[in-house]
């Protein structure tokens, strides 16, 4: 599905530079549940952002379904993010001035889905994550677990083929984190590819494959027998 070849990323801090990634080769297949682990600062988030084309690499090639993305315009890349990728973040990242329902409607709005259908689909997504009673609530009125479920519903709005999750359980108590993980596992069973960054070894072991980063390089890449 995705092939990274020699991806490198360096941040220029003016006087010095920070190399976050140095030559990452990685192939992600459809249907995988890939966990990314590694110490703080090893480049996990950077890798995830590059995978989600929120950020671009300084070197290397990114192939999505064998298409090189480096030549695409911002509008085209935005469309790919909108239709094929879904993001889940550690700090939920909901729009606080909009209700749960409206938050879920945003990706549909960018996709140009019409008003009534947009609302119906957003409702159905919130029902799926068990929030039928929280549709009109604003993020600051909800618990962390509820907020993260809204974020997942929003990530799923356009039926993405890839979910990119950056420590989705990091801000949650373990029981709520477990709920989130089960939702992701359910999605994976339905065929959605998942890339999840985590610090937690137990969660890291839950995926079908685990990539360990250290200082911007892949330290290990282990697949779990199905």
């Amino acid at each position: 599905m995705i092939t990274l070849e020699g991806i490198a990323k360096t941040y220029d801090l003016g006087s010095s530079t920070v190399t976050a990634l140095r030559g990452i080769d990685l192939t992600i297949d459809r249907g995988e549940f890939l966990t990314v682990m590694g110490p703080s600062g090893s480049g996990k988030s950077t890798l995830l952002h590059i995978l989600g084309i929120l950020d671009s690499a300084d070197e290397g090639r990114y192939l999505l379904e064998d298409n090189d993305l480096t030549t695409l315009s911002d509008a085209e890349l935005s469309r790919i993010r909108n239709e094929h990728f879904g993001f889940v973040f550690q700090s939920f990242n909901l729009f606080n001035e909009f209700s749960a329902l409206e938050n879920v409607m945003f990706p549909l709005m960018y996709a140009g889905v019409r008003g009534s259908e947009r609302r119906d689909r957003a409702r159905a997504l919130l029902v799926d994550v068990g929030l039928e009673h929280r549709m009109g609530h604003y993020p600051n009125m909800m618990s962390g677990g509820e907020q993260q479920r809204v974020a997942i519903a929003r990530a799923l709005a356009n039926n993405p083929s890839l979910i990119l999750a950056d420590e989705p359980t990091g801000n949650l108590p373990s029981d709520k984190g477990e709920e989130i993980l089960q939702i992701l596992e359910g999605l994976n069973r339905d065929g959605v590819t998942i890339v999840m960054v985590t610090h937690d070894d137990r969660l890291g072991a839950r995926g079908s494959r685990c990539v360990r980063l250290r200082d911007g390089v892949v330290e290990s890449d282990t697949r779990r027998a199905a």
Binding site: H49, L54, D55, L77, S78, S91, N93, F106, M109, Y110
Partner: protein, 507 residues
Amino acid sequence: MSWADRLWMSIRHIRGRLVESILVISATAIGVALVAAMFAFIRSYDRQTDYLLSHPAYREITVEVVGNETEITEAAVRFDASVSRAISLGTADLARARASVAAVDHGYLADAERFVVGSPLTAANRTAIASQWGAIGGTGGIAGGGATGARGQGSGAADGQARADGEFGFTVPRGTEGGTGTATMDPEQMRAQFEALLGTGDDDAAVVSELPVDGFSGYRVTGEFFAAYGLRAAEGTVFTNEDIEAGNQAIVLGHDLARTLFPNSTAIGSRIRLGIQTFTVVGVLAPTGVRSIETGTSFNRLGFVPNAAAQVQFAGRAISFQRPTRTLRFAIDDSSRLDAAVQQLILFFDSEYGPGTTRVTASLNALTSERQKLSRILAVVLFLAAAALFIASINLFNLMLMRVIKRTRGIGISRAIGASRREIFRQFINESACMSLTGAAIGLLLAPIAYGLLRTSLIADVGAVDLMNWLYFVIGAALALAVSVLFGVYPARQAGRVDASLAIRSE
């Protein structure tokens, strides 16, 4: 994302920060109102001065006697034995000036009046006047606004004693300078003579007794007035100076006035009674675009009679009822010769009557210098209006820039869920434009108020010009809106440039 969705988002964001939004919208409204009002005002002022500059009255050079108004008025009625040229200007002075001053093309008198239709002698005032006259015993002259049963109006009529209520009446001069003739006569005999003199008009079979109006406005003019104002007769003819000298009691009617007075028949040849005088209609003017500067009344609705002494025989002598003309008017066809004409007139009148006796004024010069002065004021006010708009726009600019910074993280999230840079730009420009537009809409409502304040404080009304011009309000508001919207571009571009990855990482 549709336009409506973006609007919805903008409204949500503006509502979320209502107080600061309202403040910025208010500032924009004030800026737009001032700019729009100034725009419309400058335009209407230009239109007004253009109108005035093209008006025949502003091609005039006026010559007035400098002096005590009472003195002049008291000399208004003169027994012809005692004509004293130095006190009041009249047709004779006009003729001599025309003969000597080459630079002017026209010279005339033109005094605005309200003509009252019919005889002044109702049964009641006939008795009152006669007894007043009889009691005084007939020494002295007869002066005042009642001479033709008319009363002056506007600046053209220097009629100090005209009765404001329009009633017919005579006043007897306080001094005796006006009447050196000593008419010694029995009061009873005098009363009888006087009644005979004034008459009722009923005895004159040719006079049209029923007219559909009580009165009308007009001017007492001399012959060259018509050419100076570009008025020509469509029917009959206008009267000339020769006609006036011959003592013809002629009247020329404006196009509409003729139709009003004589809806069914031709006006020419009809005799009409206006106060104590009876006039014969000699001409009806072709329709004209000229309007009275003071009242805006179309010249089509005015009547014009000779500006001459009303000669009547009284007690065996001729009495002339001469209105106190204080203003001689001269006109030139080519305004480039204005200064030369003014110089020559000053020279002529100073040598004839002595320096300081007369005042020569060119309205055009006065207006031109007033325009220059006011233009400078307007430039300053326009600058202040633009400054208000500028400050309002800077506030909007700051507010939007602040929102971009505050919502940086939100921008990153939007980008992650599929918004392009262009989309982000559009969202922010939409939001600032919403505020600009609301401000401009409110400003457009406020603009007429600001406009009214400017008008009443800066220029006098000219009735003939329709000053309210909404188009210019709208153009002014649109320009102001454009400025305001423009100030939203930079913050929106900053929003579009936000690095999504960095924005999301920022905690």
